[in-house]
Each structure stands twice: as C-alpha cells, then as structure tokens.
Amino acid sequence: MSSSPEAGLPPLQSPSSNSGLLEVFRRRYLLRLLVRSTVDARYQGTFLGWFWSYLQPFVRFLLFYFIFQVMIGRGGVPGSPRYVENFAIHLFAGMVLVHFFTETFNGGTRSLVSNRSLIVKLSMPRELFPVAHMLVALWHTGPMVVILTIATLILGWSPDPVGLAAGLLGFLLIGVLGLALALIFSVANVFFRDFGKVVQTLTQFVTFSVPMIYPYTFVEQRFGAAADYYLLNPVAVAVLLIQRCFWTGSTSDPAETAATHLPPNLFPLGGIMLAVSLVLLVLAQIWFTKLERRVPERL
C-alpha cells in the first residue's frame, strides 16, 4: 500500500485502550463528568439537597459521641489514667479517613459490576470506574473535614505545618491504598461476586482496627511490644496521621499529647506505608490489566 493517501490520517491501531491508569488520566474530562454526575445524582430529588452531605456525617458523629463518650464514658475524666482529651475530635478525625477508605474500597469493588451496561458495550479504560469511586468518596469527605475543622477551631486549634503535612499524607496514603485494593477486588468481583461480600466483611473490621474509638496508647498498654504489629496496618497509620493533624492540635498541650498518644516514628512509618501502597498500586494495575480483557464476557 502506498503511504501517500494516509498522510495526516490517524494511525491504524488496536481499538481497545491498554494503558491503564494513564489512559484514565488522558480522559480526565470524562472522569470529571462521571464524578460530578455521581455526586449530583446522590442528592437529586431531595428537599435538603447537598445539606444532606453535612447532616449525615454530623448525625453519625453525634451518635458515636453519645455512645462512646456519654454512655460508655470512653473519654474518661481529667486526671484519670484513661483520660483522652477532646475524645469527640479523636473519634471524628478517625471517622473521616475510615469513611474515605471504606467507601473507596467497597464502592470501587462494586464499580465494574454496577457499570456493566457501559463496560460491555463501549471501549473505555475500565480503571475509570474504581478511580471515579475513589474521587467521589474523597469528595464526600469534604463536608466531614469542614465539620471537623470548625469543631477543632472552636476548641482552640491552630493549624501547624507539620500537622497539615501529616493530614495530607494520611489522605494520600488512604487514596492510593484504597484505589489499589479497589482495582484488585473490582476485577475479581466480576469473576466471583463473592469478593464483593469479602470486602464488605473486611471493611467492618476497619472501624475497630484503627485508633479511633480508642487511642493508640491503649494498644501499647495492653499489648506492649506487639503494638508494633498493630502499626503494620496502613489504615491505622493513616488515622494516626490525621490525629496528628486535627486532634493533637486541639488539645491543651499538643506536644505532650503527640508524645503520649502517637508513636514516635509516625512520619517515617507513614512514608513507608505510602511507598508500600504505591507498589501495591503498580501490582494492582498489572493484575487488573491481566484479568480485564475477560471482563466484558464475564459480566
């Protein structure tokens, strides 16, 4: 074939996209619309509209606060060895990240199955759906962060750069980790829907396996050296990071609180966990690419 009539034409190539998360980035306009329409659709037809996105976490916060602080007395009284200052903040700061994680993991895992109608008919990077779920989950943490910020400011929080860095690292860690897990499980869920159930079960543990309804100090007191194993859980590390951001700063002596209630090597630990999560993300992408080609026929 002569090449002259083809000058200026797009190349002859495979019609199926194959560059994974990079392709998602290339189609970020579509990603943006998918995220926005999911967010918009959630409160359509409600009278209170977006107000719900503030109301729901706030009510959840009150519920937890009432049960753990008021009823069980988890926060303790000043002076007692089990006293946790501003326990409500401690609780809610943890909830922000736990919510982000479980939404990403749960929703992302279901995302391929729930977008079946698109996936079996149109060629698009399928990583798009877990990524969109992660971003929607991140969007929904927005109101929680606003509530948290207002509450801590009222209690006299003055943001410090180290704390903010810790908070950002916590969010980044959860985002990368959640996305990696969502990629792995979303494609597995196509082949066996059991994986969706597995994830639902796993995420139930998350609430209790992070220092949120109890401070990290309790783990140390109870388990001693074994507390190091507790810190192998990246979600727990992320929650400690966000505690460093909001909670310690809201207490009367932030430095003292951080020294007492947080592990000393929090930042290196967070960095390692982030690196591990990034490696996991690469592995997840490889796994996803491998299984993805049989997704349309198995959905």
């Binding site: 009539p5 190349p11 019609p15 918009d40």
Partner: protein, 254 residues
C-alpha cells in the same frame, strides 16, 4: 484507498460456565460432567474495509455478529489474530448507556457525549444540533427518570449519531422512536455515508442493508461465510426468499 478496518485471522472464544457455585461444581465434577466449555464466537475471520466503504454484517442469531462488532469497537480483544482500526470508532452502540436517571436531559447529554468520547469543546459545538435532533422540547430540563422510553431513546440516539466518527458502527437498534424520528435517523445515516465515513453496520434487515451498504459480510457460526456485493449476500443467507415487508425494524421500508 486507505484501510480503516483490518481484521486478520481474528478468533474470539468464550468460556461457558455451567455452574457457578462451588457446590454445583463439585457435584458436577463427581458425576463426571463438564463444568465449563469453550467455543469460538468469532473464528479465524479476516477482511479489510477501506475508507468510505459501507459494510453490512449479517448472519443468524448467535453467528458472532455482535462479538465481531465488539472486537472492532475495542470492547473485546481477540485471543489470536489482530484487529486494527483507524481513528475514532463510534456510532449507534449502547445508545443511552450510562444515563443517570436522577439527572436531567441536559446533564445526561453532556455525560453521554463524554462517554462516547467527545471532548468538552466538541460537545459545546454540537450541543444545539443534538438538542434539535432529539427534539424533546422542554423535557430537556426534566430528570431522565420521567422520560418515556421513546424520549430516552431519542436523546441517546441524538448524541450517538452526532459523534464524529472515522469508523461509524451501528448495531441493529435503529428501530427507535416514531416514524418521523426514524426518517430523520435515516437521513442522517445517509448523510454520514455521503460524507465518506466508513460504516460498519450489523443488521438482520435486508432492506436496511440494501439501502445503506455496498458490501455484505455474512457470518456463519463465527466464520466468515460470504464477503461480497449486497444482493448476493442477502441471497446467500436466503433472506430474500420471503421478503414480505415485515422487516420494518431499522431503516427499512418507509
């Protein structure tokens, strides 16, 4: 002539799972029954389509037409052989897929256009044209959940048919809307063809294929049984035996 579709010895096989749960699988295995089976939905198919050609794909149910279309649109990849296309492959597939029922027509129009591969600028440029084509009036600002099925189809169709494609593909579903809308679709399809767009059209309706295509591929159990002029292809399939006009699905008689 430049090639727009190049399919070479493409084979796509599917695994049929007879049993899904572990209990069923164990029982079947103990009884010595097969737990799964593989079959080739598309088997060793080769052909090329040049620019401006309009190809109809015909065949009985289960002959592999839809699978072939999915190979060309890039939804599936062949197990062996190659499928290559040039430029944007789009058209009347999955019209209205991805509609968010809670959102209104306008929002869904933007979303659907993006899903079909249109950029923001392209959508803005075509917005009025699409709205005019859909012709759903003030329902544009009503949530899609309240649309009649016809209206929903029109909106999905209007977006899909206005995507600029280098290879325009269509799968049956030309039978939407009322007669005036069908006529409009037909005119638009003709326009696309006259613009020199390569068309790849899957259909059961001989009249539609006659009107739109200048070449026919007939699939038989996944293999390419015929490749040639339209009338001969229809004859090959014996679809011309009793053409009593009941095939007004699609772009047919009008």
């Amino acid at each position: 002539m430049s090639r727009y579709i190049e399919v070479e010895n493409a084979t796509k096989s599917f695994t049929m799972q007879y049993h899904r749960s572990i209990k069923q699988q164990l029982v079947a295995r103990m009884r010595g029954q097969k737990t799964h089976d593989r079959f080739n939905a598309v088997e060793d198919v080769s052909f090329t389509v040049d620019s401006g050609e309009s190809v109809g794909v015909m065949g009985l149910n289960g002959s592999g037409k839809s699978t072939l279309l999915k190979l060309i649109s890039g939804v599936m990849r062949p197990e062996s052989g190659t499928v290559l296309t040039r430029g944007r492959v789009a058209g009347l597939i999955a019209t209205g897929a991805g509609f968010q029922p809670q959102l209104n027509g306008r929002e869904n129009l933007w979303l659907n256009a993006a899903i079909l591969g249109m950029s923001e600028a392209e959508t803005r440029r075509k917005f009025d044209e699409i709205v005019a084509f859909a012709d759903i009036g003030k329902f544009l600002d009503t949530p899609v959940i309240y649309y009649s099925s016809g209206m929903k189809a029109r909106l999905g169709f209007a977006v899909a048919i206005n995507v600029d494609a280098d290879v325009f593909i269509a799968d049956e579903a030309l039978a939407v809307g009322d007669r005036p809308f069908k006529r409009k679709c037909k005119a638009r399809m003709r326009e696309i063809r006259q613009n020199g767009t390569t068309i790849f059209f899957v259909s059961h309706a001989p009249s539609a294929v006659r009107q739109l295509c200048d070449r026919v591929l007939v699939l038989e159990k996944g293999r390419l049984g015929f490749d040639g002029p339209v009338d001969e292809g229809i004859h090959y399939l014996h679809y011309d035996d009793a053409e009593d006009g009941d095939d007004d699905e699609g772009l047919g008689d009008d």
